[in-house]
């Protein structure tokens, strides 16, 4: 009952905000709308398509052709349904996150049962009991429904709303063992934004864990299904654009090459504004490797027992380091954090990270206004705030991972910090 009430209130808040006079301001803000997901550019692309001009000829439209066709029909036949549609999609995302966290809680309980023997005696208190675990899905739901980042993302009618739904459904599919669902939705999410491709690793591990059987066959099967789905989507998109693959340069090429330097909450824009042209290719490659490839293998090797943590961390890292992040992405991974609420006692930097989040979120729009409208500040102010926001997110994620390691250690060796009677410190070596 309380859950239904939460849905209704969150839905009403989003629906009402879309109909206020502030909708246009929210939909145009740089933190919410990037060149990849903004509503304005979607309208422009659909308008060009309606008038027989190829939207991928110009520089304004960067969505996939599937999205183009979907919104073309929606805007032609039912434009009034759009606010309701975006609100419903957000509600669905919240629902799938709820289901995912429920499935995750079951996985956690079963894992805990298996490893009960290796737990040290004095850490038994740390084990999770059912009351704790049953609260987790409710927290996940509340965080996604009421956190201002996701609310503003939905009100701005950005396509990240749809992207979040796709990733949430794929996570739920993986956590409940539905291979086709997980792979097809992650292929759809990759087709839209490219960065979710890193999630195929935790999803394959999760599917192998949930579907008992030979692990290697499961991995290969997952990979095959994913590749087939993605290839099919690329082919369908080319078919929509009359057989030409020129849309690839405007979608994937745009994400990888970063030609548009519009400010956003990421690190790329000012870096590439102020960089020497000679080194552009080097730094583009360096940044994209950092965002896409660098942390996948090491983190997988470290966290292969805990694929949901791996998924959370990979989603968070790709949000921080991607080329055009927006706060909708941030809101999504913040909603995954309550699944790890048993790690919060081991986290040391919650206060700093939390304060930094609040301060930078409030300061960002202020210095943007000062730079662009008042003319009294300059680009460095907004860049500084962006850097602080990225640092706060990095602190949060690394702290979460350290907390996991500490909890593992404590579960195995007990909570005494003493070696041969002498006081000792817990260090990484």
């Amino acid at each position: 009952m309380a859950v239904m009430l939460k849905y209704i209130i969150a839905g009403l808040v989003r629906y009402w905000l879309i109909h206020t006079e502030y909708w246009q301001t929210i939909a145009n803000r740089v933190e919410i709308a990037t060149p990849l997901n903004s509503w304005k550019r979607l309208i422009e692309g659909v308008y060009l398509y309606d008038h027989g001009i190829n939207p991928y000829e110009g520089d304004s439209f960067h969505e996939s052709p599937i999205m183009l066709i979907f919104f073309h029909f929606l805007l032609k036949y039912a434009p009034f349904v759009l606010p309701v549609l975006f609100t419903l999609v957000d509600m669905l995302t919240a629902y799938f996150l709820y289901k995912t966290s429920k499935a995750f809680v079951q996985i956690l309980q079963s894992n805990q049962e298996k490893t009960k023997k290796t737990i040290a005696e004095d850490s038994k208190a740390l084990l999770l009991d059912d009351t704790h675990l049953n609260e987790v899905p409710e927290y996940v739901l509340s965080v996604y429904l009421f956190n201002p980042y996701s609310v503003l993302n939905c009100v701005g009618m950005t396509t990240t709303v749809i992207h979040n739904l796709l990733v949430a459904v794929s996570l739920w599919g993986a956590a409940s063992g539905h291979r086709l669902l997980a792979c097809s939705f992650i292929a759809l999410a990759t087709h839209q934004a490219l960065y979710p491709i890193t999630l195929i690793v935790p999803i394959s591990i999760l599917l192998a864990d949930v579907n008992k059987g030979c692990n290697k066959c499961s991995y290969i099967r997952t990979l095959l299904v994913f590749v087939v789905c993605w290839g099919f989507l690329i082919f369908i998109s080319a078919y929509i654009m009359d057989g030409s693959y020129s849309y690839v340069y405007n979608t994937y090429g745009f994400i990888l090459n970063v030609p548009d330097l519009k400010p956003n909450i990421g690190l790329f824009w000012y870096f590439f504004t102020e960089m020497f042209e000679h080194f552009r290719l080097l730094f583009v490659c360096a940044f994209q490797i950092n965002a896409l490839i660098l942390y996948v293998v090491p983190l997988t090797l470290r966290f292969k027992k805990e694929p949901v943590l791996l998924a959370t961390v990979l989603i968070a890292l790709s949000t921080i380091f991607r080329s055009y992040p927006c706060i909708g992405d941030v809101g999504f991974y913040l909603a995954l954090l309550p699944m790890w609420k048993h790690l919060f006692t081991f986290m040391q930097q919650k206060f700093i990270a939390g304060c930094a989040f609040i301060i930078t979120s409030a300061l960002g729009p202020t210095v943007w206004h000062l730079w662009i409208y008042s003319g009294s500040a300059n680009a460095n102010f907004f860049f500084g705030v962006t850097l602080s926001f990225a640092t706060a997110q990095i602190f949060l994620i690394t702290d979460l991972m350290f907390a996991y390691l500490k909890r593992e250690f404590t579960l195995k060796h007990g909570s005494s910090r003493q070696v041969d009677g002498k006081p000792a410190k817990l260090v990484l070596r």
């Binding site: 110009g58 940044f287 460095n380 690394t398 350290f402 041969d420 002498k422």
Partner: protein
């Protein structure tokens, strides 16, 4: 004896060459007082080469002929302008030009790569006229589909718009450096004839000055099997009586000297003064004109005073003396006038508005060409004519979206302007954040948006002074009533201020951004490669002990 012998040889040769090649050179000045306190002076130097013999002309400049033949250019128009023509106050000029540099050309259908030839053409012209036309590149060139039409003879079975290229550089300025090579193209250069009046210190002291080169091909006969090449060099000036400090203008006041006869190479040198306004604000011309002509064109009557100058005419200083000082002309609204401005505040979003007023009693069809540079992305979905998105005033639309650093945004609209009304065309744009090396020096000066082109077929010749399409010299204007009069106008340009990054920051930005990346890399590396162990800490050392330990280590 020897002198007369050589003179006879010279005369014989020149007559011979004249008969063989038949080149003709004419020069003309047109003067018209403009309301309220301005004076329009338009110079025209026309060289006609008979036949296609590009190599053997003795009057036409070789540099231009070589450019036309080498780059296979059919028609060329180049103007360098400073100032803005005020259509509402001054009526229409003989040839309108956009502020800055404007170049457009039609290439021959034999050309395989038009863009390459265009780049070579603009670079060569940039060297010839000392103007920075080499900045013309694919990222600021468009191919107008409806707005511009050739004035000369063209192949009929070819889609001429695919061989047309147009570029405008609103930031260019015009000065003596451009005038001097321009003058060198004339047969008499600046030593004899009307070009001697072009004293750069005085002609640049005007509200509007524009120098132009227009080359086109004309037909020799009805079937147009042979063509002539016509090179027209123009100078348009608008003097302000307040700047020259006198209402009584004269050549000495305008050009610093009188006219010492015509160029010996010209077959016709005439000065036309528009004295229609003599009835309202009377003035007296001195010396008296050689004859007066009345012209009735499109319903409006014009009276011209004509002076015929030969090369041995003594010094003539044409001037006007106004009777009463405190009378000035009232501006009469031409049938079509326009205004263009930029909307919006802040450096995030904005809009361009073009207001076109039709004061005529019947609808006029115009083509509006908006040429937005690549750093000003205009959004076609926000196009509104009189506030409506899909207006029925727009009869045809052509849009070519631009790409960053590759193509500009090109929008053409065929609009039917309702009678006696103002039509507003609005389109929104977003500001683009450029790389730090793409800003010009003095980045906060702003960026210029070029003029829009408005092409119209006007039903009336009120305030219209342009030559008809088949006319060569100015007297083709007399009684040249036609069913419609084609005109191509340029609106005023605009300026926007783009948001700038901090130019002193490259090193700092790289350091800071890489620091943040390292802040993530460090802990993640530690997490992935190390494991947690318990390390005994022991009792804390005092500061004195630490310092002693430090020096002990160093000694070892």
């Amino acid at each position: 004896m020897k002198k007369t012998f050589f003179f006879c040889i010279y005369l014989f040769l020149s007559i011979n060459i004249l008969c063989v090649t038949g080149d003709v050179f004419k020069e003309e000045i047109f003067i018209k007082p403009l309301p309220p306190m301005h004076l329009y002076v338009n110079f025209q130097f026309i060289t006609q080469i008979i036949g296609d013999a590009f190599e053997h002309s003795h009057l036409a400049p070789r540099s231009l002929r070589e450019i036309m033949s080498h780059y296979q250019v059919e028609e060329l128009h180049l103007t360098l302008t400073e100032g803005q023509w005020r259509h509402k106050q001054w009526g229409y000029p003989v040839l309108d030009a956009a502020p800055g540099a404007e170049l457009y050309a039609w290439f021959s259908p034999n050309v395989s790569n038009v863009d390459e030839q265009w780049k070579k053409l603009s670079s060569t012209l940039s060297g010839l006229f000392c103007a920075s036309l080499n900045f013309i590149d694919n990222h600021n060139t468009i191919s107008p589909q409806m707005a511009l039409w050739p004035l000369g003879a063209m192949y009929t079975n070819v889609n001429s718009t695919s061989y047309l290229r147009y570029a405008s550089l609103p930031r260019e300025i015009v000065c003596t450096e451009n005038l001097t090579p321009w003058k060198k193209l004339l047969p008499c250069e600046s030593s004899h004839g009307f070009a001697a009046l072009l004293n750069s210190r005085l002609i640049h002291n005007t509200n509007y000055h524009s120098i132009g080169v227009h080359v086109r091909k004309t037909c020799q006969n009805e079937d147009c099997t042979d063509h002539n090449l016509e090179i027209k060099q123009t100078v348009s000036l608008v003097y302000d009586f307040k700047i020259i400090n006198s209402v009584n203008w004269s050549f000495k006041l305008l050009f610093g000297q009188g006219l010492f006869g015509a160029c010996p190479m010209s077959t016709s040198s005439k000065i036309y003064v528009d004295i229609t306004s003599n009835s309202t604000v009377p003035f007296k011309l001195t010396p008296l004109p050689h004859n007066i002509a009345r012209s009735s064109r499109g319903g409006s009557e014009t009276i011209f005073a004509i002076y015929d100058i030969n090369h041995d005419t003594p010094m003539i200083n044409i001037g006007a003396k106004y009777g009463i000082d405190n009378k000035f002309l009232l501006p009469v609204s031409p049938p079509l006038h326009f205004n263009r401005y930029v909307l919006g505040y802040g450096k995030e979003f904005g809009g361009i508005v073009t207001e076109i007023t039709n004061t005529y009693w019947a609808p006029i069809d115009i083509v509006l060409l908006e040429n937005a540079p690549w750093w000003l992305p205009i959004q076609l979905s926000t196009l509104r004519v009189n506030g409506e998105a899909e207006s029925n005033l727009v009869m045809k639309q052509y849009y070519s979206p631009g790409r960053s650093r590759q193509r500009p945004y090109h929008l053409e609209l065929l609009i039917r302007l309702p009678p006696k009304s103002t039509t507003t065309v609005t389109i929104d744009f977003e500001f683009v954040f450029l790389k730090w090396q793409e800003y010009p020096p003095d980045a906060n000066h702003g960026f210029y948006i070029g003029s829009a082109i408005i092409s119209a077929n006007l039903p009336t010749a009120k305030n219209y002074t342009s030559l008809p399409i088949d006319g060569v010299t100015f007297d083709s204007v007399f009684n040249a009533s036609k069913p419609w009069y084609s005109a191509v106008f340029r609106t005023n340009g605009a300026m926007v201020s783009l948001p700038t990054p901090d130019f002193s920051m490259p090193y700092n930005v790289i350091c800071l951004a890489c620091t943040v990346v390292a802040l993530a890399f460090g802990p993640l590396h530690n997490i992935c490669t190390k494991e947690l162990v318990l390390k005994p800490t022991g009792s804390p050392l005092s500061l004195r002990q630490k310092v002693i330990n430090f020096f002990k280590k160093k000694k070892d």
